[in-house]
Structures are given as C-alpha cells and as structure tokens.
Symmetry: C2
C-alpha cells in the first residue's frame, strides 16, 4: 500500500512553458543531486543525521507501547506539554488516525484509551480552560522539551507540577509526569533524574521538526492506540525509495528539485499543501514547520546573504475551495500546489434521494460523498491546470499508519535534500534566537540585561501612528 | 473599549526605506481614496452595498435571540450545514467568545446551551463521525446556503434530512431544521416554503464572505449564548470610524492603502495574520477568505488582465514562533505581518516557584503566562522590526463581542476599499465557477455534459510521471 507522487501537472506539457518544467530542466540537476545524495549518505553513515534511521526502532516501539498500555489503564487524560516540533508531529498523527471527535467519544468508543490534549500555546485562557475538562487525579502529563529551557513548556510544566503537588501531595505527583527529553543534557534531564520521573529520550542530533518518529511523536500516538510499528514500517518503506540516487525514481529528491526550480527560477514563493481529507489537515501544519523553519534562511553555507525560503500554506479541500480557490485560479503566478488525495476513505456516505422534482439538487442523489469529494478535487485540479498553475498530487490508497509514515518520512528527506539545493543548513534556526533573548530580557532573566537595555534605548513609537 | 491600529512598524522611520513606507507615500493616495470613498458611500446610500448597514438590526437580533433561546431549550446539539462564507463567520465568533473546549463542557458549564458543530466539509469520515457524538432526536440542523445550489451543503442536507425522516418520522422531522437562505430566490427557499421550515433570511446583495452580521453568523452565535447585540454595537462603533474620509483617521482605509503599497510597489505578496490569542485564531481564518476571494482577481474593471491578490496566511502566536518565525525573520522580504494583540485576557495564570535552584527555569516564577505571552509578542515584534520586516498591531483591550464586532467590520470595509485601490470587483468570485462546472460534469448534472466532454478530451497523464 504505497503512496504515489503524481507530478504530471508540474510539467510544461500540461501547464505550458511559462510556468511548467521540462524533463531537461530537471535533468540539469543530476550532478548536483548526485553530490547532495552522496553528502547525505555519508553523513547518515557517520551518524550525523540520525533522523534517517528512526524508522528502525522496533525495540523502542515495543517499550513505548508497553508504557502506553500501562498509562492507558491508569489515567483518563493524557496532556502533552510541548510546542512547535514537540507538538506538531503528535497532533498530525492524532488527527490523521483517530476519530475526528476523539475526545468527545464515550470510553467504549475510545477503546478505554485516555482523552488527549496538546497544550501547544501559553495563552492563559487556553491553559486555564483545561481544568474545566480534566480531572487532575486521573491525568498524566507528558512534558516534551529537548533542553528543558523552552520558556513556554517550562512555564506550563511549573504550573501543572505545582497543581499536582497541591492536589495529590508530595507522595504521588511524580507518577503523573512523563518527560521526553535529551538523554544527558539540559535542565529537564536534570530534573527528571532528580525526581525520578518516568522518561523517554529524544536522540541527540534529532531536531524538533525531525522528531516525529522519536518518543516525541510516538508516545502520544501509542497512548491513543495508534499502531506505531506500522507507522515506522511505512517510514522504512519510504526510506527504501528515498535512497535511490535516480532522481526520477526518488519522490523526495524529485519533489525538492521541482519546488526549488519553482521558487528560484519561476518566482513561486508560496508552497500550498491542500489535503482533500480532514484527517490529513494537520500533516499540512506539520509540513509548514518543516519547510519554513528548515529552508527560511538568511545565510547560505558560504556565509552569503540569500534570504531564502518558500512560505508554506495550509489549505483544506474542499472547504478552502470556498475561500482560497478564487485566488489560486485567478491571482498571481506565485504558488506551487500539492494536493493530498485519498482513494479510499474509511467510510462511505450515500446521498439519498429527496426532492426528486428539483433537478438542481436531485442530481446529487445516488452518488456518495466519496464521489462528490473526488469530483471536486478532480475539478479543482483541472481548473488550476487549465489556468497553467503548477500542481501535483500525492495519492493515499488509504489514510492509515503505514501511508502516513511514508508521507512524513518523504517530506523529511525532501527537506534535507532541498537544504542541499539551496546550499543552506536545513537543521538550524538561528533567526529565532534573538527573539528569545529579547523575551528573556523583558522577563529579567540573568545574563540578558543587555537585551533589555537595547529595548529601552529604541526610538519610542509615535502616538499619531496608533489610531 | 475600542480596538486600536498601531502601524508604527510599517513606517520607513522604523523599518528603513527599502521596506518601509513614508507619510508622503500614503498621502499620494489621498485623491484616489477620496474617489473610492465617494463611490462606496454613494453605493451604500443607493442600497447597493447592504453589508455596510448590517450593524443596525436591533429587531432582527431580538428575533434571533428569541429563536435561539427556544432552540436551546428544545435541543442538545446544533449542527451548522454550510461551507465557506456560510461557516467561517460563525466559527470565528464561536472560537473568539466561547470556551476553548465548549463541546466538552458539562451542561452546567455550557449554561445548558446546545453543543455546536460546524460541518464545513464533505469528507465522508468527517461527516459520518458526527453520528458518534450527537443524538439525532435532540439535534437541530441549520442549513445555510444563499442559493441552495451549493453541492456540498445540498448533499449534507439530503443526508441529514433523510436520517431525520427515517428516525423521527414524517410528522416531526421538520421541527429539527432551520434554513438560512435568500428571501425569494433559490432552491433552498423553494424547499423551505414548501416544507414550512423555520427560516432566516440572507439579505439580497450580501455575499457569503460579508455575511457574518446576518443570520448566517448571528444565529449560531446566539444559540451558544454569544451576545449578538453587543457584536452589532461593536460593528456600528467601527462603522463610525470607517466613514471618516481622512485616511489618517480611518483604520480600514489606511490599512488597505498600506497593504496595497506593500503588495504592488514593494512585492510583498503575502499577508500574514498572527493573533497572540487562541480565541482569535479563527478570525484569521475568516480573514483568509475575505482577503483572498475578494482581491484575487484576473481582470480589473477595465477588463485588463491583472492577476492580483495577496495570499493571506494564518499564524498563531506564540505557537508559530516555533514554526514560522525563522522564515519570517530570515526569509525573503515578501510578507506584511499583522499581529492581533490582547491587553487583558479573561484569565490570569501565575507561574509558581518550583526548582528554585535551577536559575534557567526559576526566572519564570513570579511572572504570569499573561506576562510571558506579552513578552514573547513584544520580542517577536522587536526582532521583525530590527530585521526591517513590516508589521502592524491591532490591539484588543479585551476579546469580547464588542471588540470582535469592531475587527470584523473593519476588515470588511478595508477589503471593500482595497477593491477600489486594485480597481477590481471585490464582491464576485468568477474563478471558482469553472471548477464547479467541471464537478457538475463529472457527476452527470444536466446541462454540463460539455464539461464532461472537455475532461474526456484532455491529454491523458503519463504513467512515468507518477512514481
């Protein structure tokens, strides 16, 4: 059950020479691709890019499943404290595999698995509201942070730790906390060891946005009964395809090359991901981080200023046909669109015959929603193609752990490879450091007094420019 | 309690001459603005732009509230069948005002108001799943469609109508349906009159994306207890400001001019809206439709090909600092960023003192999440500004019906005015028609056989371009 990458509508033959790409344009990248491939494989062998080997962790998967089963029996609520890469993978998997109204289901319909909440923000209304829907005594908190220094997660941790201590007492609060953090370094490791919290390890060298196949994504998934072994198998399946040096047979490399050409040579600075499936919508969100944070860089590896990076955009089919499609069809030629299509949905919904006499409505009867959503996706693809807008299609035979594992792994390799094309480092994020330092300065953290000073010395805003 | 528009960081004085805008550049638009203003006001007086006057409907609001109270007593579930403009306004208001976990609250905590669901897609998994969480006998369905011809809503309607008939029998299914549609035209009106459904009217001349202040947005809001009169008062408050011909005092006109200059003269084809509040996140989604569908146009009013339209992007503070900020800070100079900031959140969350000895964490203690989110927003603004990235700030003293009414109305006027600047029609959406026709052709609707033929005659895709 393999996902397929259909790039016909990237080609000049289908969308014309102005926006489309020819085979020879792609072939121009053969040598470059070979070099990048060699570089990636060398680094992989040396263990410098450990994300590559995450699909092969059967023992860890078993351990996680065992813990998850145990937690499931002991708790009714599982709350993930994490943000960015510590949350997006888990959310994407939850939305992809679980029931759309999972937390509203009865215990029976949830197979007696805990309700799950991802607290991926510090909005005080959002955080305080959780106490209206959970029972602290039946809640398990999974604190996810590589370093422990992330201010958002640390703050949440302090809040919930304190509540647990006050509610449950010093004897038992520790049983309600699982940490997922570095094996050796960082404050969360220090605390974990001191407190004796149950914990899982984020392997060294795996950044947040490449961590979905570590306990970061796997533990919350296993808690709700997602088959994480199948997920890893799917990733391994894609790994095989993505080790192919032939760019015409490697979907990750090929899609990276297309996107690079569209961005750099054809001024398409926007990458839209449009799943025709509510289940896949948060994969688009996960991709947003992966693509944006990896490729949005000021400097290249030669230390030249380049300011690269496509802006990833999430759209939902068919919903966003009624919101964004007008712009996609008639607006500027600045987008590359990726559809995620599902061949077989988990349910079939028939449209019954009613109002037979009203032809403008009864033509729908006898069809299924499955046919309707497929017809609308096809129609959208046709319209965009007719208007010379580049679009491709990633086809899921079904949405399940195995196919989702494939797509996530494919995008990770695609992103790593694209880093080579842009000649930037796809694994760092230097641009967010200064913002953190400003925040530390404002909050009075020791060592950041100079940032506070810098703020205080700024030209004050003008009142007349606030209306 | 007025919202404020702070545009200091749009100005060259703060972000430099390359990306920033000077007062005189804005003043160059004075004459054009005067003309557009005159045109809008004339059309408003003639009743050609009825969205302008929607804030003034006290009687309708009372009627809706009465119905909502009645429905609240009779039903436990309220399900909106609608898509695009028929759903986005209601969703935005629900998220802005109601509890983040509204549907998971106990009846007491929901003030015995119905749970609410917006079925804004036709994904068969998404639709069939609703039956796992509602009880049909206690459910009221609000079918929202101007014409009744929207295939998605019509299909949903047929499905739920049929289920209601089969479950409740012919005698009582009618009491479970409320339609919101045109007063005279369309198939849903025809059906409504024939069946005798309770119904509300979408005023003629008000398009979906400008319909939040009609029963489209007001009825679902009133059902959950949102104060729709306050909402309209807020809109009316903003209407006063937005009738001001002086562009320096009219936030809607001024923001439209800024965005137009950034797009056309400074190649910033992306408009990011980044609320620092989970409550405001779906306002960003509502704005996405408004801005994209109104301004994304191929032809201007002189029938010249222009292919205009900024791509609106939704981001969430602080969450997306860990996903998109790297790109916003270091990536291309192609974005205008709008923060939505909240001065006073409904809750205050203190960060308690724990792990006193670990300075890298304990510096957070004594602060509140409110301070932390504010510090992070300020820090993000500072970083972007220091990197010469244009950003503005719309400041909410609080998030409530009155302030939300203001922002929604402001963006509507801003969009209408921007249509004048681009010299396009912001009220149509011709680009989505062809897609609909292709879908009709595929589904075998009478009159669209030629579209089916067109599809069949297309060059077939190449197998080698699917891997």
């Amino acid at each position: 059950m393999e996902i397929k990458f259909d790039f016909n509508n990237f080609m000049a033959e289908f969308i014309g020479n102005k926006n489309g790409i020819s085979e020879s344009e792609v072939n121009n990248f053969k040598n470059k691709a070979k070099k990048i491939h060699k570089d990636l494989m060398e680094k992989r062998e040396k263990g410098e890019l450990p994300f590559f080997d995450l699909p092969y962790q059967d023992k860890l998967a078993e351990e996680i499943e065992k813990t998850a089963d145990d937690i499931s029996k002991r708790f009714d609520y599982f709350i993930v404290l994490g943000i960015g890469g510590s949350a997006l993978g888990g959310i994407a998997l939850h939305t992809a595999i679980n029931h759309p109204y999972y937390n509203q289901l009865s215990n029976e319909k949830r197979n007696f698995r805990p309700k799950i909440y991802f607290l991926d923000n510090i909005d005080p209304v959002f955080i305080s509201s959780i106490f209206d829907v959970i029972d602290l005594e039946k809640s398990c908190f999974n604190v996810i942070s590589k370093s422990g220094g992330t201010a958002e997660t640390a703050s949440q941790f302090l809040i919930f730790l304190n509540k647990l201590k006050n509610t449950l007492g010093n004897a038992s609060y520790k049983k309600h906390i699982i940490t997922t953090t570095d094996a050796k370094k960082g404050k969360l490791r220090e605390i974990t060891d001191k407190e004796g919290f149950l914990n899982f390890v984020i392997p060294a060298g795996v950044g947040g946005r490449f961590s979905v196949f570590t306990p970061v994504g796997l533990l919350p998934s296993a808690i709700t009964g997602i088959d994480i072994k199948e997920l890893l198998k799917g990733a391994a399946e894609m790994d095989k395809k993505c080790q192919n040096e032939n760019i015409w047979e490697n979907p990750a490399y090929l899609n990276a090359i297309f996107h690079y050409i569209f961005d750099i040579e054809k001024q398409k600075n926007i990458s839209v991901m449009m799943p025709y499936s509510n289940s896949l919508k948060d994969i688009a969100d996960w991709y947003r981080q992966l693509w944006a944070e990896s490729l949005g860089k000021k400097f290249n590896l030669k230390n030249e200023i380049v300011n690269t990076g496509q802006t990833p955009v999430k759209a939902l089919g068919v919903t966003d046909q009624h919101s964004q499609l007008q712009l996609y069809v008639e607006g500027p030629d600045d987008k590359v669109i990726t559809f995620l299509t599902v061949d077989n949905y988990k349910s079939i919904m028939e449209i019954p015959l009613e109002y037979k006499e009203i032809k403008d409505i009864s033509y729908l009867s006898g069809h299924t929603l499955n046919e309707l959503i497929k017809a609308e996706r096809d129609a959208t693809e046709l319209t965009l193609t007719k208007n010379h807008k580049p679009n491709c299609n990633i086809i899921f035979p079904e949405v399940n752990e195995y196919t989702v594992g494939q797509i996530l792994y494919m995008f990770e390799v695609q992103t790593a490879f694209a880093g080579g094309l842009y000649n930037i480092n796809p694994f760092d994020q230097p641009g967010v450091e200064e913002g953190k330092h400003f925040a530390y300065g404002i909050l009075g953290r020791k060592g950041f007094e100079h940032k506070k000073e810098e703020i205080e010395k700024r030209t004050p805003k003008k009142d007349k420019w606030v209306i």
